[in-house]
C-alpha cells in the first residue's frame, strides 16, 4: 500500500499512527516534497485484517513477542497457561545487566492478564536493559510505556 501525492508525483512517507481504542486506526502519511498530509482511517474490520497478519503499520516499537498474535487476539484464553517464572529479557545473553523488579512493579504487572503477562514483562525488561536501568519500578514502567508507545498493551 502506497500513497502518491499527485501534484508532486511523489510517494508519501509514513509519519504517525494513532489507535483511538475503538477498533479503528489512523495512519498519517506525509509528502516529502510539499508536506501535504493525509490520514488513512480504517474501520474495525480493516484494522483487524492488518492485525491478523501480526504486523503494525509504521513498524514496531518493540520486537514481536513469542506467540503475540495468539495471546492478544484470542478470547477465553486460560489464565494460568503460561508460567512466567523463567521470563528474562529476549537478549539476556548480550546484556549482563540484571533487572530487578520492585514489589510495586510486580504488583502492577499482576493487573495485566496472565495470558500476556510474560510477554509484557519481557518487553519492559528488554527496554530497561537497553537503557541501563537495573531496577524496574512503577515510574520506570510509566516512562517505558510512553517511550515504547505501548498503545495496545
Amino acid at each position: 500500500m502506497k500513497f502518491l501525492c499527485i501534484p508532486c508525483d511523489s510517494v508519501m512517507d509514513f509519519a504517525e499512527r494513532q489507535i483511538p481504542g475503538d477498533g479503528t486506526l489512523a495512519a498519517v502519511f506525509k509528502c516529502g516534497s510539499c508536506s501535504q498530509e493525509v490520514a488513512m482511517l480504517t474501520n474495525p474490520m480493516e484494522t483487524q485484517l492488518v492485525s491478523s497478519m501480526g504486523v503494525k503499520i509504521g513498524g514496531r516499537e518493540v520486537p514481536a513477542q513469542p506467540m503475540e498474535l495468539s495471546r492478544t487476539s484470542m478470547e477465553g484464553g486460560k489464565e494460568d497457561v503460561f508460567d512466567q517464572s523463567e521470563v528474562v529479557s529476549t537478549d539476556s545473553q548480550s546484556h549482563s545487566l540484571r533487572v530487578t523488579w520492585t514489589s510495586e512493579a510486580v504488583g502492577r504487572l499482576d493487573n495485566v492478564p496472565s495470558f500476556v503477562r510474560g510477554m509484557v514483562k519481557r518487553i519492559y525488561t528488554d527496554w530497561a536493559q537497553q537503557n541501563g536501568i537495573s531496577e524496574m519500578n512503577p515510574a520506570i514502567m510509566d516512562r517505558a510505556r510512553i517511550e515504547l508507545g505501548l498503545e495496545d498493551m
Binding site: 502506497k2 509514513f14 495512519a27 492485525s51 513469542p66 523463567e86
Partner: protein, 311 residues
C-alpha cells in the same frame, strides 16, 4: 467495458503511476515485518531434521489418532519428536498425547512446549483455552470475520511452529485439519516439507477428496507424498477373521494415482480410538494388536525417512 470517466469529464484520463512503477519505500514497514516473520520461522525450523505433515482433506479419517500414535511410536524408538496441532478449531492432539492442562513455560527464546508422558513435545490450541468445550473465538469486530479469520489462523499456526522452543528435533509432526485449503496454506507457510502423509479410508467418498489433496500436493511440488489407509479392514478379536469395512477393494498404488506410494494400511480397531482418546496411544498401550503392528510398520518407514534412508 471502457474506462470509467469522472462525471462531466471528457478530456483524456491523467496518468497516475502504478504501484509497481513506484519504488520508493513508504516507511510503513509491513513487508519488512512479514519477511522477519518468515525468517524467524525458517530459523526455528532449521533446527528440525524432518518436517512431516499428516493430512487428508477429508475429516473423520483418523488423522489425529495416527499422528498421536506415530509420535508416540517414534519417541519410543528414541527419536526426538515434536507434534503441532494445526487444527485450531477442533484440537485433539493435546488430549491424545495426554498433555491437557499442561502449563507452557515462557522462556527467553520463546514458549516451551508441553511434554507428553511418551516424550513428545506438543503444542495445541487446546492448551491455551480456558474451557475444553468452548469454541475458539477471536477478539473481533462485529462483522467481517470471513475476511480476516483465515489470515489470523495462519498467523497463529506460524506462531505454533516458529515461536515454540522445539529445540533440535529429529522430526516435527504437523496434524493438519480437514480441507484441502488447509494443506495449501500450510505448504505456503513452511519453508519446505519433507513428507506429506495423506490419510485415507476405503470409502469412495474419502478417496475422491484425498485425490484432490494428492493433486494439490503434486502441483505444489511436494517431493514425498505417502498414503496411509486407515480402517483398511476389520480383524475379529475372537477368531481373527479379516473382513472389509467399506465394501471397496484395499487401496493399491494404481488406484491411488500411481506416483503416490502406500506407506501404511491400518486395520480398524475400536481400541485405537478409545485408548488414544484417553491419552494412551494404542501403539504403546497395546503393542501386540493388529492395528499397532500396522502402525509400527508405518513408524519403521518414517524412521528410515528421518534417518535419510530410502523410504
Amino acid at each position: 467495458m471502457g474506462k470509467v470517466q469522472p462525471k462531466g469529464k471528457t478530456e483524456e484520463m491523467r496518468k497516475i503511476r502504478t504501484y509497481q512503477e513506484v519504488s520508493h519505500d513508504t516507511g510503513s514497514e509491513l513487508l519488512e515485518q512479514v519477511i522477519e516473520q518468515q525468517e524467524r520461522l525458517a530459523d526455528r525450523l532449521s533446527q528440525v531434521k524432518r518436517l512431516v505433515a499428516i493430512a487428508s482433506g477429508k475429516g473423520g479419517v483418523g488423522k489425529s489418532a495416527i499422528t498421536a500414535n506415530l509420535a508416540a511410536g517414534l519417541a519410543s524408538k528414541g527419536f526426538k519428536v515434536g507434534a503441532t496441532d494445526a487444527d485450531l478449531n477442533g484440537p485433539s492432539l493435546g488430549r491424545m498425547l495426554n498433555v491437557s492442562g499442561a502449563t507452557l513455560v515462557d522462556s527467553a527464546d520463546g514458549v516451551e512446549p508441553a511434554m507428553s508422558p511418551s516424550g513428545v513435545s506438543v503444542m495445541s490450541m487446546e492448551l491455551l483455552q480456558s474451557e475444553a468445550d468452548a469454541p475458539l473465538k477471536w477478539r473481533e469486530p462485529a462483522m467481517g470475520g470471513f475476511i480476516w479469520q483465515s489470515s489470523m489462523e495462519t498467523g497463529v499456526l506460524r506462531e505454533f511452529l516458529g515461536d515454540v522452543v522445539w529445540g533440535d528435533l529429529d522430526v516435527l509432526l504437523i496434524d493438519v485439519p480437514p480441507g484441502t485449503d488447509k494443506i495449501k496454506r500450510l505448504l505456503e507457510l513452511l519453508p519446505s516439507l519433507d513428507l506429506l502423509l495423506l490419510v485415507t479410508t476405503p470409502s469412495e467418498t474419502t478417496r475422491f477428496v484425498v485425490a484432490k489433496s494428492i493433486r494439490l500436493a503434486q502441483e505444489a511440488m511436494v517431493d514425498n507424498i505417502g498414503l496411509v489407509e486407515n480402517m483398511e479392514s476389520h480383524v475379529c478379536s475372537s477368531c481373527g477373521h479379516v473382513s472389509r469395512l467399506f465394501g471397496t477393494e484395499a487401496a493399491t498404488e494404481e488406484h491411488l494415482h500411481g506416483s503416490v506410494s502406500l506407506w501404511g494400511s491400518i486395520p480398524f480397531d475400536p481400541r485405537l480410538g478409545a485408548l488414544t482418546d484417553q491419552g494412551d496411544p494404542l501403539i504403546t498401550a497395546e503393542p501386540e494388536s493388529a492395528a499397532s503392528v500396522a502402525l509400527q510398520a508405518l513408524v519403521e518407514r518414517v524412521s528410515k525417512h528421518i534417518k535419510g534412508g530410502k523410504s
